[in-house]
């Protein structure tokens, strides 16, 4: 399997990553999916979670994305992320603090729209914590 997938990670503000890789695992809304070269063309929404970049059998890069869209063709995998942070840059303490703050905001929020906005943020923060939990368990 010498073929590689052109993996691109783009945020609205800039092109974050663009490199050929062996495999990427993307957290789709309806389940994680791995992309190898020759994958069938696919467009999917992405839930908050971790993208794993594989080089051979090894994970070389783990990036947390706060949702977005993924476009897969036979030679390319493009992820349009809303927010992307390298997993190693996430800090458990600050994430836990964010969750606590947001939970308080949730109690304070009055309108439904406000509540929905806070809940969305909370879901992202929880996903971050979950991602951290998974990575520390792996090591």
């Amino acid at each position: 399997m010498a073929d590689k997938v052109e993996f691109e990670l783009v945020s609205p503000e800039k092109l974050l990553k663009s490199l050929p890789v062996d495999m990427v695992v993307v957290p789709g809304t309806e389940g994680d999916f791995g992309v190898l070269a020759g994958h069938a063309p696919l467009i999917s929404t992405v839930r908050p979670g971790v993208i794993d970049v594989y080089e051979g059998e090894r994970i070389v890069d783990r990036v947390f994305v706060a949702g977005g869209f993924a476009e897969v063709t036979e030679t390319r995998c493009t992820v349009l992320a809303e927010e992307a942070v390298a997993l190693s840059d996430l800090d458990r303490v600050s994430v836990e603090k964010t969750i606590k703050d947001l939970s308080e905001d949730l109690d304070d929020s009055k309108s439904d729209a406000e509540r929905a906005a806070v809940e969305a943020k909370l879901a992202v923060a929880r996903a971050k914590l979950e991602a951290l939990g998974a990575s520390s368990a792996a090591h």
Partner: protein, 297 residues
């Protein structure tokens, strides 16, 4: 005969004005470079978003029931204009031309018997439009991206627009902004955001043609993805407009300050000549007085 002291003061004041304008020009030039870089960095996302939208839209249009953001509400009664201007002045015709175009649009739409609502970004545009159309302004934002324009700024504006659209407060939304062409030329652009005109797949995806335009699978189905993608696209379009506007503002300011610096230079030269002539005239006059005084003895 002009007073020498006054002339001297005048020259000193024009000189310090020139210092200020040339410093502002330099600042604008470096900000322009940053704004341009940012605008370029935002390019890839928008381009890929456009490609996805194009392939999605061609699928959904076949089925005939796209989401409202794309097909519109079916009515064409209430228009929302998002007017993007700057917070600060001293940038030539930048705000003037935006406001002029906005007024032209308002007059045209009202002439057609439609209701117009305004959402302004930037202090200058709001101030100028408020004089005539204060009742039309539903919301205005200031200090957007004061230090560095971020996507969340655009998202905030987009959320407001979406909330209004969902509440059925308008049918059509357009954004009026300065498109950056070069440092000396900005083009006032009116772009329709809602209903969103999806670019035709052929010209939106030149890169995809070489791959013989793949047939995509969708997960979840097209309509659900579109329902998420379209609001996102609205934020992106507004973000692009804000970026273009920021770059244009700095470009316009740079040109305006360059002109001002040059004018100040010309003025200093003229004033210096007047000053020297006057000084000479005084000396000659005094000499004549002395000589004629000596001759009278």
């Amino acid at each position: 005969m002009p007073n020498l002291k006054d002339l001297k003061n005048r020259i000193a004041s024009v000189q310090s004005t020139r210092k200020i304008t040339s410093a502002m020009k330099m600042v604008a030039a470096s900000k322009l470079r940053r704004a341009q870089e940012q605008a370029e960095a935002g390019g890839p996302y928008a381009e890929r978003m456009g490609r996805m939208l194009a392939s999605l839209a061609s699928n959904v249009q076949d089925s005939g029931n796209g989401p409202k953001l794309m097909t519109g509400t079916g009515a064409d009664k209430v228009h929302l204009l998002v007017v993007v201007s700057s917070d600060r002045g001293l940038c030539g015709a930048f705000n003037g031309s935006i406001v002029r175009e906005a007024k032209r649009q308002i007059a045209r739409l009202q002439g057609e018997g439609k209701t117009v609502k305004l959402l302004t970004v930037g202090r200058k545009g709001r101030d100028q439009l408020r004089r005539e159309y204060a009742s039309l302004i539903v919301e205005s934002y200031e200090d957007v991206g004061r230090r560095r324009l971020s996507f969340s700024d655009a998202d905030m504006v987009a959320k407001k627009v979406l909330a209004m659209f969902d509440a059925g407060e308008f049918d059509v939304c357009s954004v009026v902004f300065n498109k950056f062409k070069s440092a000396i030329s900005q083009i006032v652009t009116v772009q329709q955001l809602i209903p969103f005109a999806v670019p035709v797949a052929a010209d939106a995806a030149p890169a995809a043609t070489e791959e013989a335009k793949p047939v995509y699978e969708f997960e979840p189905d097209e309509e659900q993805i579109l329902a998420e993608l379209l609001p996102r696209n609205l934020s992106i379009q507004i973000y692009r407009a804000l970026l273009e506007s920021a770059a244009s503002e700095q470009g316009a300011r740079m040109t305006a300050m360059d002109n001002a610096t040059r004018n100040a230079g010309d003025m200093i030269n003229k004033l210096t000549i007047t000053y020297n002539r006057t000084r000479q005239a005084y000396i000659t006059k005094e000499l004549i007085e002395i000589i004629s005084g000596a001759e009278a003895l």
